[in-house]
Amino acid sequence: MPASEAVVDPAASCADLVKVFRSATGETHALRGIGLEVHPGALTVVAGPSGSGKSSLLTLLGARDRPSAGRLTVLGSDVGVASTRQLRTLRRERIGFVPQRSSLGVFPHLRAVDQVRQVGAWRGARDGAFDALASVGLDHRADHLPAALSGGEQQRLAVAVALAGSPSLVVADEPTAELDHANADLVVDALLAVAGAGAAVVISSHDERIMHRGDRLLRLRHGVLSSETTRRDTTAVIDATGRLQLPPALLDLFPSRRVVVEEDGDGVRLRPPRSEA
């Protein structure tokens, strides 16, 4: 963990975060009590299998949705109680968001440079549009409409739009999903540069290469944060109800799904029941 974390307030923090989606067929519990902090100057990667709740978590961190329960604070605003207008201002001025589908992140009728410039203007930046495009390798496509760009280029343009105007928080939902390794590295470099400039960056990804380039890796499973990996160590997470998720490899040690918990000095030891041993 960077040394600055100890003195700088987190860009986003949540405790016991729950998100439930209701539909005609019933309820979907996307997040079941997440607690975490996102700090400025660091790139946080959220990983997990499909349906684990990554997109829901990133949508909430991007202040684009409200939690069903729990507390979520983004850049000092309590998302659960803030007014729609406050959240709108927050999104417009301080949060860059890259949606999972690149088409949701670009204006179809504006040239690449124009839309980066437009979004940057909303965040108070008068120039820097070309720099943002150059950071994702799109400076040569500045005067093209999105329809003239490939899928990967559109993805990178969406990242450039999110980075325009130096937002305080950048949330990117699988920003490298449609990119080759070289371009994925380019995008991650750009995100790391933004983080290095002091912004808090949160991305989700399935790509192991990307996961290990972040300052911090959070793994989600079944809507629960199962582990947190930093450059120093990997820790499992105990949620507010005392639950602890074991990695799948360790689960195989407990085929009956029963465990004996023993205190071991200043630690805890888990072992299968004797009948299994």
């Binding site: 829901s56 709108r88 927050l90 001025e93 899928g151």
Partner: protein, 921 residues
């Protein structure tokens, strides 16, 4: 080669907004059509009302063109009976000249003192000839003389009898002709010249050619009013001197012809000015009053102003008001429809940009800014819609509005109205965009999973609304129903309900009986695809069904109103022309000859109709009674256009059959039925038993006189039963006899032809004439025909919308699930098969819509009428379908299906199996 760096544009979203729509021609066209229709729907009703007013005025003026000056003419005649001083004369002329809508005054003057004991004469050498001093502007000049010179012009024969040559002296004035010793008062003058008179006229041949000359004031011989007095024509100055010196009573007449193309506003202004002129002549505070009081010799003059323009203007306004009232419901319906189309177009456009809306909402753009962007985007369309809407409104009013020869002038008010309408349209777009943005901006919807939709039972709501409106409309009295605001909503609701029900029924049937198409074929694929896609199919079905249904309904309404007006006119007028003949058919001669004279048509294509009144006890009050000669009446009477009156014609022969009592036919509302018997009561003086041979809603001429029911009987059989005191064949019978019958001659020809025919038969022609055209105007029916034109125009607009909507939806239907087309292409499906499959999809929806449209229009035709704006005059007007409607609909359908088919095929063929499947842009 180095690429030039792209120029960064500030406010790119704002700059791009006005140019967005032109980049998508389909959406641009849809929004432009909607905006244009909205502007036109706002501008057209006032234009229609203005045209109706102008047309009514033009028809009113045409009807009285050439009539003698007075209440029957729109031209104006001002008269005064004294020689005004120069200043007073100039003031009066200025006032007359300033009247709006009238030409310059032309003054005629004449002495009018002669009567049966005092004659106007000229004398020379002891010889005397009748001749009245006369003046008209330009008359002396037309004879070749000098207007300002002294002397008079005499008819050549008069001058010859007096032995006068130009330059000879003569005297003119008044002489007593009966038992008096009063010496004549004669003024001295000279003979300025002579003129030849026109045959049968006292006017000089040089003046009689004027087409208006038969309306000039020319003095008549007091002993024989059919003959004009010879004229002694003088210039104005000479006339003013001579009438005073001769002790004549002068009459000055200023004739002002109304301008042929006068517009209603000028006519209204002229009426006001004329009234003011007449008032000022009697207002001692006004200079005109003083001018009229200063005459030579002293005594003052009285000014009279004669014109029928106020009556014509009043009738014009009444007709225009009736037309406007009749059109108002349709106009409001058109406006609501156009506004709904504009909003729907923008909603559809917004849906096509759903992803972009999510983007701007996610980026925190305020809804107000998004609405402003939408306004900026729609602004060019709104600006363009102003001239287009005005043009469309002009075109619609000219083609479907009241017949006008003057063309249509777009007034400043119309332009302002169009601009305001465009502004309102823009506001609708902005409001729609704002609501949509607010909806999208609610955070719960930003999450892609979203919340569950709240299901609205649209079908049940539509059916309930239809039922409620139907109950409300049909409980309104039929005379007020057509103008009720809810009435116009009923056809739309019925068409919509039928469309939804048919779409659901067809979907249910198809689910019960799967298509027997060959598996793997184009049709099979179409059934598989459209089966679960209820929404698009239902939308296409509903739009086409409602549009076509309303268009078909408009066709039937247009025909129904046209035929209904003809029927009502027949009930009001009875025949093309009728003329009252007071005494000519009454008694004289032998009994047989007298009776034959009562019913024998006096000329070709005529019939005699006797009118009287009788009560039908136990009902109180006299009802109109018509006694006719069935054979000639059947041939001459107007039987309308729809066949509603045919029942009366078929019953006519039964008026002469053997019955217990007088066979009568009853027209109107009565509790009596065919076969019923009763007693006709004639002013409690005598009664005649009758038997009803039939009851009809309306009969030719049955509405000429007011009454609940009109009794029609055979004239000969009736007159055999009436008391001799009221028998028109009685020797000495007159039209003034108490309880007597009056006679009319009905004709299929024009008034001119009828008069000529009657004159040829020795029948008087000075009775009151009524024509079919008069009945139409008086009954407010002509306004109905104009309103019918508006209905047809509205129907055409709905048709255009239906076709356009169908094409848009067909396109959406064809574009839906395009990914599967690419995949199927990769699996080996040929492009032609995919195109056929798409065409089948559209075809199913359109076929369902056609069925729904036919059913909807059928229902609307069969329900009680809601379109009769003049229901007080029977028979009731109702929509009437015709073969032409079916043909027109068939053509429209074929074209729509063909175009939709081609569109579907074209879109399907455009997809290439190698297309990159991208879920993005």
């Amino acid at each position: 080669m180095t690429r030039a760096p792209a120029r960064v544009r500030r406010g790119a979203l704002w700059r791009a907004a006005p140019l967005r729509l032109p980049r998508t021609p389909g959406w641009l066209l849809l929004v432009l059509v909607a905006a244009t229709l909205f502007v036109a729907s706002v501008v057209a009703p006032p234009m229609f009302a203005a045209t109706a007013r102008a047309t009514a005025l033009a028809e009113g003026l045409r009807a009285v063109a050439g009539a003698p000056y007075g209440p029957e003419s729109a031209d104006l005649r001002a008269t005064w009976d004294g020689v005004l001083l120069a200043d007073g004369d100039a003031l009066l002329m200025d006032r007359l000249d300033a009247l709006r809508g009238y030409g310059a005054p032309v003054v005629t003057a004449s002495g009018v003192a002669q009567n049966r004991t005092r004659r106007a004469v000229v004398q020379a050498d002891g010889r005397t000839r009748p001749s009245e001093i006369w003046y008209r502007d330009g008359a002396v000049a037309a004879l070749g003389g000098d207007e300002d010179a002294d002397g008079v012009w005499l008819a050549a024969d008069v001058a010859g009898d007096l032995g006068l040559e130009p330059g000879d002296r003569l005297r003119l004035g008044l002489v007593q002709t009966f038992l008096t010793q009063t010496p004549p008062t004669l003024a001295r003058t000279t003979l300025a010249g002579t003129y030849e008179t026109a045959p049968g006229s006292a006017l000089p041949a040089a003046l009689a050619d004027d087409p208006d000359s038969d309306r000039w004031f020319v003095p008549f011989d007091p002993d024989d009013p059919t003959q004009q007095t010879p004229l002694a024509i003088a210039g104005r100055r000479a006339f003013d001197r001579l009438v005073v010196e001769a002790g004549e009573a002068p009459l000055y007449l200023a004739d002002l012809a109304i301008e042929p193309g006068i517009d209603p506003d000028d006519a209204a202004a002229a009426v006001t000015q004329v009234q003011r002129l007449a008032d000022d002549a009697f207002d001692s505070r006004e200079p005109l009053y003083g001018a009229l009081g200063a005459t030579k010799p002293p005594g003052g003059a009285e000014l009279d102003v004669l014109t029928g323009l106020p009556d014509i203007a009043f009738e014009t306004d009444g007709t225009a008001r009736t037309a406007r009232d009749q059109v108002r419901p349709y106009a409001v319906a058109g406006q609501v429809l156009a506004a709904a189309l504009l909003v729907a177009a923008w909603v559809l456009l917004g849906r096509s940009r759903r992803r972009e809306q999510l983007l701007v909402s996610g980026l925190g753009l305020r809804p107000s800014r998004l609405a402003a962007l939408a306004g900026l985007e729609a602004l060019p369309v709104a600006l363009l819609a102003v001239p287009l809407g005005l043009g469309l409104a002009c075109l619609g009013v000219l083609t479907a509005g009241p017949p006008t020869e003057a063309g249509l002038v777009v007034a400043r008010d119309d332009v302002v109205r169009a601009a305001v309408a465009a502004g309102v349209g823009l506001a609708l777009v902005v409001g729609t965009a704002a609501l949509s943005a607010v909806g999208t901006d609610s955070l719960a919807r930003l999450s892609l999973l979203g919340r569950g939709r709240r299901a609205v039972p649209w079908t049940a709501a539509l059916l309930a609304a239809t039922a409620a409106v139907a109950v409300a409309v049909f409980t309104i009295d039929v005379t007020d129903r057509a103008e009720a605001p809810l009435t116009m909503a009923l056809p739309v609701l019925v068409a919509g309900s039928v469309a939804v029900l048919v779409a659901r029924a067809v979907a249910w049937l198809r689910s019960r009986r799967p298509a027997r198409a060959r598996p793997g074929g184009a049709r099979w694929l179409a059934t598989r695809r459209t089966g679960p896609v209820v929404r698009e199919v239902t939308a296409l079905t509903a739009v086409v069904a409602v549009g076509l249904g309303l268009f078909a309904y408009a066709l039937t309404v247009h025909r129904g109103i046209d035929e209904g007006v003809t029927d009502k006119t027949a009930a009001l007028a009875g025949a093309a022309t009728t003329i009252e003949v007071a005494e000519d058919f009454r008694g004289g001669g032998s009994k047989g000859a007298r009776t034959a004279r009562l019913v024998t048509p006096p000329a070709d294509d005529t019939s005699i109709v006797w009118r009287g009144a009788a009560a039908l006890p136990p009902e109180f009050g006299a009802e109109p009674l018509m006694a006719v000669d069935p054979d000639s009446f059947a041939a001459v009477a107007d039987w309308g256009a729809s066949g509603e009156l045919d029942a009366g014609r078929e019953l006519l022969p039964q008026l002469d059959r053997e019955a217990e009592g007088l066979p009568v036919l009853l027209a109107g509302e009565t509790d009596l039925e065919a076969g019923d018997r009763g007693t006709l009561d004639f002013s409690s003086e005598f009664q005649i038993p009758f038997q009803v041979v039939g009851v009809v809603a309306a009969f030719p001429g049955s509405e000429t006189e007011t009454g609940g029911v009109t009794v029609v009987a055979d004239a000969l059989r009736l007159f055999r039963l009436v008391l001799p005191t009221v028998h028109p064949g009685r020797r000495g019978s007159t039209s003034d006899d108490a309880g007597g019958f009056t006679s009319e001659v009905w004709s299929r020809d024009s008034a001119h032809v009828l008069r000529r025919g009657l004159a040829g038969a020795g029948i008087s022609t000075d009775g009151e004439v009524s024509t079919r055209a008069q009945a139409q105007v008086g009954g407010g029916l002509v306004a109905s025909t104009w309103a019918a034109g508006y209905v047809l125009a509205l129907g055409v607009v709905v048709l255009v919308l239906a076709v356009a909507g169908a094409l848009v939806l067909a396109l959406r239907l064809a574009d839906r699930d395009s990914v599967s087309d690419v995949l199927l292409g990769r699996m080996g499906w040929r492009a032609a098969e995919l195109a056929r499959s798409r065409a089948w999809e559209v075809g199913y929806a359109v076929a369902t819509a056609v069925l729904a449209a036919v059913l909807a229009s059928g229902v609307l035709v069969l329900v009680p009428t809601i379109v009769d704006a003049t229901a007080t005059v029977p028979p009731l007007t109702r929509p009437r379908p015709g073969l032409v409607d079916v043909v027109v609909l068939a053509v429209v359908l074929v074209v729509t299906v063909l175009v939709a088919w081609l569109l579907g095929a074209w879109r399907a063929r455009r997809r290439h199996p190698a297309e990159v499947l991208r879920a993005g842009v």
